[in-house]
């Protein structure tokens, strides 16, 4: 199975052969992987260089690579094909969800708007503070999923962005 893996801003192609070997960008890379916590925490030695990788969680999933946190997604080619162009490289989608229960005081954007990274999308009042929900990346607002004045649960979808070339 081939995977397209996005590690922060980079994209890497990994092929897992049935015998368990992994090819990275088509070549054999000397590596040694051990699982510390099943499917969450690994020790990976690449050409003698020792790295500790932890899958922290979140959506999209965050990984800790040594001392750096990055967003990492791995999608197999079948899923990629099924998605079509929409979610191919360069068209990634970003969901903005309520991180905690609260009152959605205001929505500052409309569907179709193109917003910059960190632009305020909506204001959520929670824990007696007003919190701005911000754009995780530059993108076009594909969908607004909640209206101002609504009480929202933790994890409720507020908006969906798709990458928009600058």
């Amino acid at each position: 199975m081939r995977y397209e893996v996005r590690v922060g801003a980079r994209t890497v192609h990994v092929e897992a052969s049935p015998d368990g070997r992994l090819l990275v960008e088509g070549r054999v890379v000397a590596h040694e992987v051990r699982e510390i916590v099943p499917a969450r925490h690994w020790s990976v030695i690449v050409e003698g260089s020792s790295h500790e990788i932890a899958l922290l969680g979140g959506d999209p999933p965050r990984m800790r690579v040594d001392d750096t946190e990055v967003v990492v997604t791995a999608v197999d080619e079948r899923t990629l094909a099924a998605r079509g162009d929409r979610a191919s490289v360069g068209g990634a989608r970003h969901e903005v969800r309520a991180p905690m229960p609260g009152l959605l005081k205001a929505v500052h954007v409309a569907e179709g708007d193109v917003v910059e990274r960190n632009a305020a999308l909506a204001t959520l009042e929670a824990m007696k503070m007003e919190n701005e929900l911000r754009a995780p990346a530059r993108g076009k607002v594909q969908r607004i999923a909640a209206r101002a004045g609504a009480k929202v649960e933790s994890g409720a979808l507020i908006a969906v962005l798709v990458d928009e070339p600058a």
């Binding site: 590690v7 499917a39 690449v46 899958l55 960190n118 824990m127 929900l133």
Partner: protein, 494 residues
Amino acid sequence: MLHKVLVANRGEIAVRVIRACREMGIRTVAVYSDVDRTAMHVRMADEAFLIGTAAPSASYLRIERLVETAKRTGCEAVHPGYGFLSENADFAQAVADTGLVFVGPPASVQRSLGSKTEARRIAASVGVPVAQGTMDPVTDVAAAREVCDRVGYPILLKPAGGGGGKGMRIVRAAEDLADAWRGATGEAQTAFGAPALLIERYIEHGRHVEMQILADEAGEVRWLGERDCSVQRRHQKLIEETPGPSVDDDLRARLADAALRIARAARYVNAGTCEFLVAPDGTFVFLEVNTRLQVEHPVTELATGLDLVALQLRVAAGERLPFAQDEVVRHGAAIECRVTAEDARAGFLPAGGRVDLLRLPSGPGIRVDSALELGTWVPDEYDPLIAKVVAHGRDRAEALARMRRALRETLVGGLPTSLPFHAHVLAEADFVAGRYDTGYVGEHWPPPEPELDDRQTIAAAIAAVLAARATHAHPAADPARSPWAAAARAEALE
């Protein structure tokens, strides 16, 4: 000497107080809300009692229930920690009225220093400079405009009824006043039940420097050194250190003198902190007194070797301070990072959840105060602080190097944290050089996305593929434990 103390708090500060009590041979009674039944402070205490449901007003803020529990269990004293009822004069009074000892300044002191206007009056009366502005709370925007025009912009609006940074607004021009007033007064109403605001001249590029004091009932007061807490976001402290990088012996002496004057004038007892805003030219104004133990007290403990909680308990028991001012010696440098359950890259949005990966740092010069264990549930209802990582070194460079090393060792999975922020700042050139003020976070965060080298990228890609395959291979595994599965589900719903 006290024999039994009720700890009216939760989380890391309840654990901190219980640790001190245990070391001193004092028995402890913990209290908990229903969501905290398995919390560490409940397990570490000798006794534990349920006091209500998750909402603070239904548990940790229930004065009567707390006092009744303390009385019934035979406690002699109550330690409020920080937050919750720690600066509530009614609570201090209720504790005293029941014949118990409140570990902190008495209600009368809490009342006078808790009122910002009264605190400013006390400071001004002993010659400590205060910011230009109103001494009395303002309730309407027209009156506010008059004051602002007189004092001059930039100005700072802050709630008269409470602290902690909630509801504060900086206004740089007259045309922004109306909007800022509306926001601040609204938040003040929500947070403190009182819409009135104070107006102060705002000092640009100021540094938030505070002085730790400790006083006994006999009126003796000691100062234990300053902490620079300028690395703040929305007036919430994120990093604190001592000595302050910009504080020289002269400034330190002036801050200590100001703190001692205020403490004596207020007849202060127990531990407290005088907060100041220091301008680039070394002049300063008094901000407020925190009439309680502070989150960042470990920084001072590492530098002085003193145990502030133990000293609080001794002073509360009526003991005299066991050392003279010249016996307080500060060694090296100490720094604290407040690790919070907040998504640093998403505007520090708080987010509770279950900690499902955890490694806390240790080794030379590192102290961690936390109530975290693998599996700990971090509720949404309370302060998002989950761990304080504190580093001590012979000088600032060593303390910073140790902190960087410790942050690298720290691993928290299952919820977003402030760790990326702390890791970034500890390596950022201005911070490392000690060049920062209260505007620092706004200028330096968020930074560009971090970059990985080739081997790190390959290692991460390999792990990601293994995780994806594991999710695929074991669809029956608990999906709540796999973020990949969650992502896949969300995908499927579209």
